[in-house]
Every structure is written in structure tokens, then in C-alpha cells.
């Protein structure tokens, strides 16, 4: 009995995947950072890029530290390892800056965006690291009625990096939210985008290669 097996001759087997942008999002269980990762990946897809998002859970309970990973690239990739050398960090809760390992592996010149009411100067003094902060909780409270920081952080992040359009972000949000909730989130996107300088973290500097 002849048994077939598939031989995929990848003619150009040495082709590299090309730059893969890697982002790590730190939060706590219940803060929705996994959702943030999914929305960011969806947004990238809406802008015709290839993307992947997945969580790394600690214990199954509210409040436990949760890390989520996002990869964005222009060509398909298949790696599924955790992000060890992120080009960017998004920190959903300022208190997490004190957790050991949160900023480990950041690529030189990599960008850190923090949900905080402090200024960049204050945070630099505290941690020795350059970072940009926005008061995402307050903004969300004002527009959404709840201090959920994700949408604001993503909007700020995409404004800083320009890697995915804000339109695509809104489309990505539309996968999860409808009606009035979507409307408010869209307003939040626009408000948060105004809070950070445009394009100062262009992706070319921070693409991760292996």
C-alpha cells in the first residue's frame, strides 16, 4: 500500500521572514491586556499586515500579572515563542514598573509607553529609563465611564509608532464592541492620540530580527 507524504520544497528556503515587530504588554488579570493584544493584532490585520497575539498567564485569578505578546510583520511568520526582545513595551499599570523583569530585553532605543499620571521626567528619575506616559485611566473614566486603559494606550502607541493606522484600530475595536460602546471607544482613540507626539517611534529602528 503506497503511503504518500508531503514534501514541501521551499525553493528559497533561506529566505528570511523580514523584520518582525515585537511588542510586550504588561498588565494584571482583569485589566484586559490580553484583549488589548488581540485588538492590536486585529488592527494590524485591518491594515493588511500579518500579526499574532497571545497571552502568558500566571495563576488563574484576578490581579495576577499577565503578559501579552504581539507580533506584526509584512510577511507571514510562524514563530510562537514568547517575546524576549521587545521593540516596544506597553505597561498598563505603573506599579508594574517595580516588578522585576518587566523591562527586561527591551531593544536598544526601544519605546516604553506607561499608563501613569506622572511625567516622563519623573518616571526617568524613578526607573532610569526613558518612557512616555499618558493618564489612560482618567481619560477612559471620562469617556467610557470606567478606568480601563487599553484603548487609550493602543491609540497613543499607534500614534507614536505609526505602524498601524488609527482607522485600522477603530476597525479592530469594532470586532469587539458595537453601538454606543464602540462610539465611545472611537472618541477615546481620538482623544488619546492627541496626547502624544506623532511618529517619534518609527518602526524601522525597532524591528526585531531573531
Amino acid at each position: 500500500m503506497a503511503v504518500q507524504c508531503y514534501i514541501e520544497q521551499v525553493s528559497n528556503y533561506r529566505r528570511r521572514v523580514g523584520p518582525v515587530i515585537e511588542i510586550r504588554i504588561h498588565g494584571r488579570g482583569g485589566q484586559g491586556n490580553v484583549a488589548a493584544a488581540y485588538i492590536l493584532a486585529s488592527a494590524a490585520f485591518e491594515d493588511s499586515r500579518f500579526s499574532q497575539a497571545f497571552p502568558s498567564f500566571g495563576a488563574e485569578r484576578r490581579g495576577a500579572p499577565v503578559t501579552a505578546f504581539v507580533r506584526i510583520a509584512d510577511k507571514p511568520f510562524s514563530r510562537r515563542c514568547q517575546v524576549i526582545h521587545p521593540g516596544y513595551l506597553i505597561i498598563q499599570d505603573e506599579a508594574l514598573l517595580h516588578v522585576p523583569g518587566v523591562t527586561d530585553g527591551l531593544l536598544p532605543g526601544g519605546g516604553i509607553l506607561v499608563n501613569s499620571t506622572r511625567s516622563s521626567a519623573e518616571l526617568k528619575e524613578m526607573t532610569g529609563l526613558d518612557m512616555i506616559a499618558i493618564p489612560a485611566n482618567a481619560l477612559a473614566k471620562k469617556i467610557l465611564g470606567r478606568p480601563v486603559p487599553n484603548t487609550a494606550l493602543l491609540a497613543a502607541f499607534l500614534t507614536l509608532t505609526g505602524m498601524v493606522s488609527l482607522d485600522a484600530l477603530v476597525k479592530g475595536l469594532g470586532q469587539r464592541f458595537k453601538g454606543e460602546v464602540l462610539e465611545r471607544n472611537t472618541r477615546l482613540v481620538n482623544e488619546a492620540a492627541k496626547m502624544v507626539p506623532v511618529g517619534i517611534w518609527k518602526e524601522a529602528n525597532h524591528a526585531a530580527n531573531a
Binding site: E8, V17, A53, C81
Partner: protein, 390 residues
Amino acid sequence: MPQMLEGSMALARAIALCRPQVVAAYPITPQTHIVENISKLVADGKLHCELVSVESEFSAASVALGAAAAGSRAYTASSSQGILLMSEVLYNIAGLRVPLVMTCANRAVGAPLSIWNDQQDSMAVRDAGWIQIYCADNQEAVDATIQAYRIAERTELPVMICVDGFVLTHTMEQIEMPSQEQVDGFLPPYCFARALNSAKPISIGTLVSPDFFSEVRHSHHQALLNAKAEIVSADEDWAKVSGRAGGGLLGVEGDPGAKVGLLSLGSVIGTLRDALNEYPEAGPAKLIKLRTFRPFPTEALLETCAGLTDLIVLERALSPGSGGIIGTEVRAAFAGVADAPRIHNFAVGLGGRDIPLNIFPRLMEAAKTASPIPFAIFDVNLEKLPESER
């Protein structure tokens, strides 16, 4: 049309497309999202089936068995402790030759308690008599699930689709969901010749004496061996419908002239694929994706590995006190074969330990030893243990 979907959502939709009539659901991390998504589909009227929320995994498998025996296409899913709890039923289902499909969202088996991914659970039931197919990504999981019903119903063997927990179930990536028409064209309505029916009563599950037992076991073993052809044809036929092939029994990629092969299964394949491209200096290698573990594709393996000098077998489970599971079966396949490759066997990523891209060059380096490594847990750090436990 591709879309971004979390793995478990894609799986839930794939199940719905197969039109199951009975779904038995019991939650366990990391499979929970699959049954939650199915429940939502039922609640929203998008999936019309009897959803039985059972009180344990043991009953989940039993309800699925009862339904399939009574003539309805059925489904259930579990992981880790749940797979072990239902293991008695799994043996029963296979021995009774009832067609059924289930998802195993691979997770480590306690003790020690772990909610994270490895493949000890499905490996623990490898002798239950099920077909086992391992998926490298969520697209494969969707396609394999649909193919699984056809394979199960044609071979009268249950099929376990293995999907790495968290790594695949909770990962959102681009998926092409097939249409209902494509699936309907591929999967006929459930047809089980021995279904229970009061118009034609039969007895299923009788006591079998020593006079007949060996013959029954032989026929089961033979059925599994014969299933290889069905597994391959299901993949080929689905490829004609969808444009996507999963690799049948096993798939090969990489440098066709390479003398070193790297064999593994499940989601680690994706990482290894990128690693081969990112570390060309580590040397050319063939990446062998084991898609079907049961039945074990001996002939395909030997054919694929012909000419290799080294074969690195990378697995996500082990048999404590013995060594690797897949490694042992691979070695057995090569027993007596002339010019067999040196076989190096490693377990990696146990209990959810992350497998980084650079594992590839490190494995290639490790394979350069004078004598092949019979078995080792590759990413263990003995410094973390007291002396006496190393």
C-alpha cells in the same frame, strides 16, 4: 476570506460547521474557551445541537459516546486532568469502534500542578486506540477537525485532534474559515452502520471471552494501520476543496539536501520553521512535522529520513523512568534499517516552558556529539535543583 480569530473561537466555529447534533461540555483550562464559544453559538441560534453541560469529563466522554452510538454526530473536548479522568471512556469508545471526534487542548499533567502546555496528556492515552493528529497552527486545527469527522466515520475509529493549550488555543492569528457549503460538500451526514435503533436492535459492548478477544484486538490494530490511507486521502480531498493541505501523516520542509533532520509535532513546528530561516549558519536541516502520531507513520518516516546522518527528535512529554516517547518509537522504526541516522532525543517545553528561536542552533550543536544522545530534557537548568536531585 481570512480573518483574525483566537484559536478556540476558530475551533468552535469549525465544530459548528461540522453540524454536530450533540456536544458535551465540561470546562478545563485551557480548553474552556472552546466550549464557551460553542455555548454562545448555541445560545445565539447559530449552532443547533443538544448541548449537554455535564458534571465531569468522565461524563463528557460518556455522553458523547452514548450520542454517537445512538446515531448522532457528537463532540467533546478536554485537557490534562480531564483527559486522564476520561481515559477509561476513551479506551471504551475506541474498543467499541464508535466514530467520534474530540479536541485535546494539550496541557501538562499534574503533579506538579500546571495549567500550561505540553503533550503529556495526549501521550498518556496513546494506547487507547484513537487516531491522534497534532496541529502546528490554528489553521491546521480547523482543517484537521473537519477532516477528522470524515476519517472517523469512514474508519469507525475515534479521532483526537491535539492542539497546544494556550500556545494555540489562546493565540489570535489569521485564519481562513471554510464556508458551510465547503464543509457540507466534504462531510456527508453522520452515518454509523451499527447505530442503536429500535427498528433494528443490536447489542453493543458485550463481554468477550479469551476465545475471541485476540481477534477483536487484531482487527482494531489493523483498522488503525489501515487508517493511514484514509488520513492521507482526507487531507488530499480537503486540499482540493480548501486549497490547504496539512501534510497527511507527516510533512517535510527545509533544505532538501540536508543531512540533519529535526522531527517534532505541534506548535513548536512554527517556531522551528522560522528558526531554520533565522539561523542559516547553524547548518542546513530538514524540518519533519509529525502530523499523525497514531497510527504511527513508520513507512513515511523511513522514506522521509532516508539519507539522513542525524535525526533530532524533539518532544513535549516523556516517560519517566524510561525516556522519550516519540524518540523511543522513532528508534524502534529504524531498528534493523541499514544506514539509519543517529537519533538524538530531547524533551523540551515541559509544563509550558517557552521554546525560543535559538533552540535550533543549540540543538544542531548538541547533535554534533560523538555518540547520539539517548534522551535528555533539553532546556532543564540543573542549578535550580539541590545537588541530590540532579
